[in-house]
């Protein structure tokens, strides 16, 4: 009996990959020596005004989100927050270049990308708040869980994109990683797999200068992180990560290339982390104020503002409207985050296996007894006698 004769076999026939020719000239894979820029160059005139205004509104909203989340850590409402202030252009572009059917694979710093993709701002924070790991259904939003181990989400993006291509689906995966993450073995393995499988993946490296305290010079000896692409047989693109228009263009091209079946691209966004690694980190121990100030002059919001006001696309009124919208988002976030989450401790055992093992049933019974003793079996907050865990 062959597979064709089997019931159900017609449902799914894997699609073979596009033909592959060995590359004889690596030059097209090499990144340009200077990061690609749009804003402040002649190319800016060709940029779509509607897109620029959308990017601007999202950047301002994103910055406000970062500030609000950082404030929430000080009030004890968030366990930790790794701010992406200064990197908003990367975050927003990553979200906006994807279609609904595409997948985003964020790292722990990429909450903003997930929110810009449409995830509820509170659901996006459940990991960092500490009430649950992933507060959303990844399949519903096509956003993988925010990934805390470094670079381990990259092979997932490759596998997913590969599976989608096998199924004949027109889906691209965009995976985000930091400069430190490029030193991890999973980064290498993911890029290699993606290139060999011609998987429709875009790897976005946000080179923000530091892996906690370790500067890029101690992280790599490569001419640039984008140069790493050449060794795998995929194009590397170097882009100004604070230039939202450039980010959008380069990522759009990489996504389009992946969708055409031409394989993966590695994009290095050169940017800067204006805040510390997280609220728990003291950045003054490893970098000076002058460096931070230099980057402040190259702020992604200012760059775009300059372009938009210069072309008469944005005035003070327009800016106020955008800021007010961001403020309303922050208010809503504050309000929701100030409410205590209602948690059921029995959930601890709910999703370890599809069916609880005997061992877990015993342990769940023990916890239930403890909770009953704590709250009384007829706790009015919970009809199962479990208590609400507050």
């Amino acid at each position: 009996m062959t597979v064709q004769e089997l019931p159900g076999a017609a449902v799914y026939r894997p699609t073979p990959p596009p033909a592959w020719k060995p590359l004889t000239d690596p030059a097209p894979l090499l990144p340009d020596p200077e990061p690609f820029r749009v804003l402040g160059t002649d190319a800016a005139a060709g940029a779509d005004p509607e897109l620029l205004l959308r990017l601007y509104a999202e950047l301002v909203r994103g910055r406000r989100y970062n500030a609000q989340a950082t404030a929430l850590t000080k009030q004890g409402r968030l366990a930790v927050y790794p701010s992406s202030t200064g990197q908003e252009a990367c975050e927003i572009a990553a979200a906006l270049v994807l279609e609904d059917r595409d997948w985003l694979f964020p790292s722990y710093r990429d909450t903003l990308a997930a929110v810009a993709r449409g995830l509820d701002p509170v659901e996006a924070l459940t990991l960092l708040r500490g009430d649950r790991h992933t507060g959303y259904d990844p399949r519903e939003h096509r956003i993988a869980p925010l990934c805390t181990p470094l670079a381990t989400q990259l092979p997932h993006a490759v596998g997913l994109a590969h599976a989608a291509r096998l199924k004949g689906d027109d889906v691209v995966a965009l995976a985000m990683v930091g400069d430190g993450g490029t030193s991890e073995g999973d980064f290498h393995e993911a890029l290699n797999f993606a290139a060999v499988w011609r998987a429709p993946v875009v790897f976005l490296v946000q080179n923000n200068g530091f892996a906690i305290s370790v500067p890029l010079a101690k992280q790599t000896a490569a001419p640039s992180l984008a140069h790493k692409a050449v060794g795998y047989g995929m194009p590397g693109r170097l882009v100004d990560g604070n230039d939202a228009a450039a980010m959008h263009q380069v990522l759009s091209e990489a996504v389009a290339r992946a969708r055409r079946g031409e394989g993966p691209t590695l994009v290095e966004a050169v940017t800067y982390r204006m805040d510390a690694h997280t609220n728990a980190d003291d950045a003054t121990r490893y970098r000076g104020d002058s460096e931070v100030e230099t980057w402040r002059a190259h702020d992604p919001i200012k760059l775009l503002e300059r372009e938009l006001t210069g072309r008469g696309l944005l005035d003070e009124d327009g800016m106020s409207t955008v800021r007010e919208g961001a403020e309303r988002m922050a208010e809503g976030l504050r309000e929701q985050m100030n409410a205590d989450p209602v948690l059921d401790p029995m959930d601890l055992f709910a999703h370890v296996y599809e069916q609880q093992t005997g061992q877990l049933r015993e342990q769940a019974d023990r916890l239930r007894v403890e909770l009953d003793a704590e709250h009384g079996p007829n706790d009015e907050n919970d009809e199962n006698g479990v208590g609400d865990g507050r």
Binding site: M1, T2, V3, L6, G8, A9, V11, Y12, R13, P14, T15, P16, R132, H133, T134, G135, D137, P138, R139, E140, A144, P145, P149, T152, L154, P155, H156, A157, V158, G159, L160, A161, H162, A163, A164, L166, K167, A173, G185, D186, E189, A190, N192, F193, V196, D347, A350, H351, V352, Y353, E354, T357, G358, Q359
Partner: protein, 343 residues
């Protein structure tokens, strides 16, 4: 595997000798034929058919896209499998040799085992990780590790190991069909063990997590699994000369653990020895002995003993026979079960 052979013969009436490796291959083939989302990937699993030939013929029958030779990178293989599972496929990955699986450990522990939990049940990981494992085949270093203790210490994983040809087929089918990740440990030295077995009418298999009494007895229980099962069955036969009637329990799965079958046996016999070839310290035997003691203390005539590999890195092939628990070491433990208490 005299018990399994007899069962298979009765069942079909036209069973032929088959090796464990063949039964495993047939399980992969049947799973792929039944469910088009089952994909096999790993190093050398395609054209070569795997270094143990378990995947022989799969690429030819189902194509390179469903039986895929991957780059040589275990974390990449398992990491890609995670993404494939996220998109609705059912990957079966091969880790070629036990110690080769360690680069994939982070993917296994941090993602494969935890994804269901991390996502509140929204994203199960129906991945089977096949690991040819254990010693006794004269492999050089890094080819003979018993790594089950690492896996069983990781919540979210099932840890399964067949010891018979029937179970090799049945448990692998069950593992692939499971929506939870399974680390499927294949005892390398039993790959060529044979039993009369019919692939056309394979035995139906109990769900993962049931132990089975391979040999009934009254004097003591040998609790074992995987490569140590034949050792225990042989020891039980030899023990009859001493007047001991040993019961042999094959766990078939360390996670979930079948407390009921094990405890019922020990309550009947009052004595127990746990036998496995992985190191004793921090090994599965300690956990099993503790569980047995907690449940059967008032039935026990003697402490639960362990016969395990030494607490040493797996030795070079010319020395491995000293490390692996053999029949004599099992019988010696049985002799130490405080038999005088009976008289």
């Amino acid at each position: 595997m005299s018990t399994a052979a007899a069962t298979a013969g009765e069942r079909t009436g036209r069973a032929k000798p088959a090796t464990m490796a063949q039964a495993l291959g047939r399980a992969l083939r049947d799973s792929m034929a039944e469910d088009p989302t089952v994909h096999v990937l790993g190093e050398d699993v395609g054209t070569l058919g795997g270094v143990f030939r378990v995947t022989d013929g799969l690429a030819k029958e189902f194509g390179d896209e469903r039986c895929t030779d991957t780059p040589l990178a275990e974390a990449g293989i398992l990491g890609a499998a995670v993404g494939m599972a996220m998109y609705g496929l059912r990957p079966v990955v091969e880790m070629q040799f036990d110690a080769f699986a360690y680069p994939a450990f982070e993917q296994l522990v941090s993602h494969v085992a935890k994804m269901r939990n991390r996502t509140g049940g929204a994203m199960p990981m129906p991945i089977t990780v096949r690991v040819p494992y254990g010693g006794g085949i004269g492999g050089v270093e890094h080819h003979s590790d018993s790594s089950e203790a690492y896996y069983m210490a990781t919540p979210g994983l099932h840890v399964v190991m067949p010891a018979t040809v029937d179970d090799a087929y049945g448990l692998l089918r069950e593992s692939i069909a499971s929506d939870d990740p399974v680390v499927f440990l294949e005892p390398k030295r039993l790959y060529w063990s044979k039993a009369d077995w019919s692939p056309d009418a394979p035995a139906s298999v109990e769900p993962i997590g049931r132990a089975v009494v391979r040999r009934p007895g009254r004097s003591a229980t040998l609790i074992t699994y995987g490569p140590s099962l034949p050792v225990c069955l042989e020891a039980a036969e030899a023990a009859t000369a001493e007047g001991w009637d040993l019961e042999v329990v094959d766990l078939r799965s360390l996670v979930p653990f079948d407390d009921e079958t094990v405890a019922a046996s020990v309550r009947r016999t009052g004595r127990a020895v746990v036998v496995h070839e992985s190191s004793g310290f921090g090994g599965p035997g300690g956990e099993i002995a503790a569980r047995v003691t907690e449940r059967c203390f008032h039935h026990l005539e003697a402490p639960v003993l362990r016969v395990a590999g030494f607490d040493i890195p797996y030795p070079p092939p010319m020395q491995e026979r000293h490390h692996l628990p053999g029949v004599d070491r099992v019988l010696d433990a049985v002799a130490r079960l405080q038999w005088e208490a009976e008289s």
